[in-house]
Amino acid sequence: MADIKSFIDNEVKTNDIVLFMKGTPDFPMCGFSGQVVQILGYLGVPFKGINVLDNPELRDGIKAYSNWPTLPQLYVKGEFVGGCDIVREMFQKQELQSHLKDAGIAVNEAAAE
């Protein structure tokens, strides 16, 4: 478990945006993961998708790491932003766009308007 924790720690700290998800960005295996992929795609921000279905230890490990019981989970600059409900609500209220910009990440301006 210690190894998984340092793996997660390293991923979220060395990538600007990390999405722990079921499936891959090209082939989401769950509707909730797919929704967050779509939102990030719409905003035109690069992100690293990590498929927790590849590794049961990671699937449990990320839940413990974030103290969050469900997937997907979005991290920006090492900070847990939320799951599908929160990301969608923030996106609809333009808060996700400003959160990303505040973190120094360029957002597709047409989408941010």
Binding site: P69, T70, G82, G83, E89
Partner: protein
């Protein structure tokens, strides 16, 4: 295994007695719910912390017995 809407509501209210809780069974299968929870306890907290309070109230059932609960939280 599914959970009844009234059980979900009861668990949330046990942890957050002032909360108003509105639960809908989205698919009619007792497995996919949405909940709108309004409580003074959420005031000043980030959405992540607000949702964590609700998940704590459900004592580990979320993600297990309870497959999907779309949450919307706010302070009154």
């Amino acid at each position: 295994m599914a959970m009844q809407a009234r059980d979900i509501e009861a668990m949330i209210k046990e942890a957050l007695p002032d909360a108003s809780v509105e639960i809908r069974d989205l698919a009619g299968d007792g497995d996919h719910y949405s909940a709108i929870v309004v409580s003074e306890a959420f005031r000043g907290l980030t959405r992540v912390r607000q949702h964590q309070l609700v998940y704590d109230a459900l004592k580990g059932k979320m993600g297990g017995e309870l497959h999907a609960l779309a949450l919307q939280t706010s302070a009154p």
